[in-house]
């Protein structure tokens, strides 16, 4: 793609109609308009504004090919503060992903000792000290809401930082690009090897590289299933061929996706497949930090030699293309903000290094907000980038995000670990006993959310003359209270028979379930006692 000159369109003085020979510029009502991409940070703000005004685009011949073939990205090695930060994030995220299932967490003899476990078979979700039951799935929904809000927060503050550093696609692409570099050498060596005919040396290198790809991919797929079962047991079962078919299928699918998405599709996933860049575009505003080429400082480009002979004619950019060479998505940041830019800031590292070598100030490419770009271009004072983070929108996002988190932690902290649901028998609703008393039957479900068996007391509240018995006591053991041991971490179904003397009216009452331990957790559930006699 030819380098376009952003200053040409924006700084072109209004020309008279008829004078226009440049097909990319239309002159309407004395104003020059263009369809060409223009940097948003141009020196003349009106020009950028006018470019969105409705006008007929110039007639032009379509390119011969509507499909743009992918040119393989061979990004060059670079070092600098952002690269080091990217290394750090990569190690942390990969360590979390691969390592988390192996963290142990003692929950006593009745519960798994894996710190993070999604136990689908038993319908439990363990996360360190938190255990979530299926009926509490709203906590997971809350977690997802927090994740979404977190992305909003990050996006409005630092643009596509998620894309640039922490997104799995980015992390694994980065990892695979390091593998490329390790096996085939840096940018130039890789371009050369790609162009070389397939010989034994290239074949060997390719085989070696794809083997490493496969190992990483398999390890990634394998780590995924560890979250769903006890990790050490699963590893043993997996290699012994005794794991569930779902485990093998999942590993196979994830190996395949990691291999193709990380090894081959890479930046195409970000540019063509992922919806997030599009959503993010709507979330960023002129106060969001993004990686920007400061074209008012860099343009027009010229080599060091040319700039030396005519210093006032050329900008700071020496057109060394280092920013393009290091880009993991293969874009030219100097064309302005674009969907292909994941704001990984590696071009900042590359440019800063070049600027230091030729003795010009750093930050020709830098994190900046559009607001600051305009100010800086007009020669006004700007704020340091970190100050751009503190503004009402990010603060509001942060407060919402934080309060949801606190609310969930609070709810988790005070939630009851016992539960009682009552299902009355509806057919028949009541039973007349031979002595004239009336019996109602109920199915009680006692829930014990602690990971130890607990004795629980079921008591009648209301119905002063009634007694009850449960399936294990029989009628001889009828009393106002019954005691039942509920196994650890389970729901126990108990049949309860409540019997009331002749003449009792239909009445509401409730069952109270109390744990007989130091916690004395208690829960009450309403029920109805039906009799042939309907109370007033």
């Amino acid at each position: 793609m030819p380098n376009r000159d952003p200053s040409r369109a924006s700084s072109a003085p209004p020309r008279r109609e008829g004078e226009n020979n440049d097909p990319t510029i239309v002159v309407e009502g004395g104003l020059a308009k263009t369809n060409e991409p223009v940097s948003s940070a141009v020196a003349e703000p009106e020009a950028t504004t006018r470019r969105h005004e409705p006008h007929e685009p110039p007639r032009q011949h379509l390119p011969a090919k509507l499909f743009e073939k992918r040119t393989k990205v061979h990004n060059k090695r670079v070092d600098g503060p952002f690269r080091r930060f990217k290394w750090f994030v990569m190690f942390v995220t990969l360590a979390i992903y691969y390592g988390t299932p192996w963290i142990r967490w003692d929950r006593g003899p009745y519960a798994p000792d894996q710190a993070v476990l999604i136990d689908l078979a038993n319908r439990r979700f363990y996360m360190f000290g938190i255990e979530i039951w299926p009926h509490e799935f709203y906590y997971v929904a809350g977690l997802l809401i927090m994740a979404a809000l977190g992305l909003f927060l990050v996006t409005s503050a630092v643009g596509r930082a998620w894309c640039g550093y922490a997104c799995p696609q980015t992390v694994w692409t980065d990892l695979f690009q390091h593998v490329d570099r390790f096996v085939d050498g840096d940018r130039n060596a890789r371009i050369k090897l790609d162009a070389a005919p397939l010989g034994p040396k290239k074949l060997g290198k390719r085989a070696f590289k794809y083997t490493i790809y496969l190992i990483i991919a398999f390890w990634t797929g394998g780590a995924w299933i560890m979250y769903f079962a006890d990790a050490p047991t699963l590893v043993r079962d997996f290699w012994a061929g005794e794991a569930a078919p779902a485990a093998y299928i999942t590993v196979a699918i994830l190996t395949l996706t990691t291999f193709t998405l990380g090894g081959f599709m890479r930046e195409q996933v970000c540019i063509y497949m992922c919806p997030w860049p599009r959503i993010q575009t709507a979330m960023m505003d002129e106060k969001s930090l993004l990686v920007t080429y400061k074209d008012w400082r860099g343009e027009p480009r010229g080599s060091v030699k040319k700039a030396k002979s005519e210093p006032e004619k050329f900008g700071d950019c020496i057109d060394c293309l280092q920013c393009v060479a290091v880009c993991p998505t293969g874009i030219d940041i100097r064309e302005g903000p674009q969907v292909g830019c994941i704001t990984c800031a590696l071009c900042i590292d590359a440019c800063d290094k070049v600027m230091a070598e030729i003795g010009r100030p750093r930050g020709l490419i830098d994190y900046a907000t559009l607001d600051d770009c305009k100010k800086e271009a007009n020669g006004e004072a700007t704020r340091p980038p970190w100050k751009a983070l503190l503004r009402p929108r990010t603060v509001a996002y942060f407060l919402i995000w934080g309060s949801i988190g606190f609310a969930m932690l609070f709810a988790l902290g005070v939630r009851s670990h016992v539960g009682l649901s009552v299902t009355p028998d509806r057919n028949p609703p009541y039973i007349l006993m031979s002595d004239g008393s009336v019996r109602n039957s109920y199915t009680l479900k006692l829930r014990n959310m602690e990971s130890r068996p607990r004795d629980m007391e079921i008591a009648l509240q209301g119905l002063p003359d009634a007694v009850m018995w449960i399936d294990t006591t029989g009628r001889d053991g009828a009393a106002r209270k019954q005691i039942k041991t509920v196994p650890a971490d389970q729901v126990l179904a108990v049949r309860a028979y409540v019997i009331a003397p002749p003449g009792t009216d239909t009445d509401d009452f409730s069952f109270r379930l109390t744990s007989r331990d130091e916690q004395k957790e208690s829960v009450e559930t309403k029920a109805r006692f039906d009799t042939p006699k309907v109370g007033e």
Binding site: H61, L62, P63, A64, L66, D425, R426, N427, P428, I431, L432, M433, S434, D435, G436, R439, S441, D471, T472, G474, R475, R495, Y497, P502
Partner: protein, 303 residues
């Protein structure tokens, strides 16, 4: 057809039509799409050969694999049956009176009995086993048993039925019809006396005398009933055929007597065991007493 030409920018042939300057490209199908189409055709042919496909008059072509959905169902059912074999075997070995002590087997038996009950028993006794007073089907949830409410007695009733014709060991008894035996005054007195047994009618000498002479042999002097004869208790709150004076009068003059089929020939012993456990578990089941005082249990002990 006439104006076919190669379109410059795309290099594709047009279909030859033109509408107000708009032309349509004859873009070929993507190759992967075409190959998918061919693949589905091959798949279709293979499927027709291997599986039932063409509908004929009374059935479809069979296919080389011999697969059928009925066969599949039979296979799945047999797998389920296989899974139950151990449970059923174990259940068949446990003596019925020991079953309630074995809580795991008892739970299994009750669950199996519940579904068997819905198939075989709910037609008369109702899906909640509550019976029907108007039709005279007893409620099985309560603690009033005509012929005995321990688990073994229930099993005996299930096997042999009640007043089942042609069954030797069936539970049988007859309440004689007293139509034309009593004077109206005497009948009213008797009805009053029967009601008084459960504390509702007025006690009177004539009624007591009539009851003593005609009814006490089976129903007992105090109306406590006699299970070996299936004679109902008259001194309790439960009335199988209704407790109004009219209903009592009818029952004395033209008594209704319930019947129940014997299931010993129709159901296997394990299913009957499970049904007994279910009925016993409904809330009115009585403890089985090993050495029973009355002869009814001795009869029960035989099968």
């Amino acid at each position: 057809m006439v104006n076919k030409r190669i379109d410059g920018p795309t290099g594709t042939e047009t279909v030859g039509h033109e509408w107000d300057g708009i032309e349509e490209l004859d873009t070929p199908m993507p190759r992967w799409w075409l190959w998918t189409l061919y693949l589905t055709i091959v798949w279709g042919i293979v499927y027709v050969i291997l599986y039932p496909a063409w509908p004929l008059v009374d059935k479809a072509t069979e296919g080389m694999l011999g697969w059928s959905s009925r066969g599949e169902l039979a296979k799945e059912m047999s797998v389920v049956d296989q899974g139950r074999v151990t449970m059923r075997e174990e259940l068949s070995r446990i003596p019925i009176e020991r079953l309630p002590e074995n809580s795991k087997m008892f739970t299994q038996a009750v669950a199996g009995g519940r579904s068997a009950f819905q198939v075989h028993c709910s037609q008369c006794h109702g899906s909640g086993a509550a019976g029907s007073q108007t039709l005279g089907y007893p409620n099985l949830n309560d603690d009033d048993w005509l012929w005995g409410g321990d688990i073994k007695a229930i099993e005996y009733t299930l096997i042999n039925g009640i007043r089942a014709p042609g069954v030797e060991k069936t539970r049988a008894s007859i309440m004689p019809p007293f139509d034309g035996v009593f004077e109206p005054v005497q009948l009213e007195a008797l009805v009053n006396h029967v009601l008084s047994l459960s504390g509702r009618g007025s006690r009177n000498a004539l009624g007591a005398q009539t009851f003593q002479d005609n009814c006490s042999v089976c129903h007992g002097t105090g109306g406590e009933g006699k299970r070996e004869l299936g004679a109902p208790r008259l001194n309790d709150a439960i009335w199988l055929y209704g407790s109004s004076r009219e209903q009592l009068r009818n029952q004395i003059l033209k008594p209704k007597m319930g019947r129940m089929p014997h299931w010993g020939d129709r159901l296997d012993p394990v299913t009957i065991k499970m049904l007994s456990a279910y009925v016993w578990s409904l809330g009115g089941g009585e403890e089985f007493v090993e050495v029973a005082a009355d002869s009814a249990v001795k009869v029960d002990a035989e099968p």
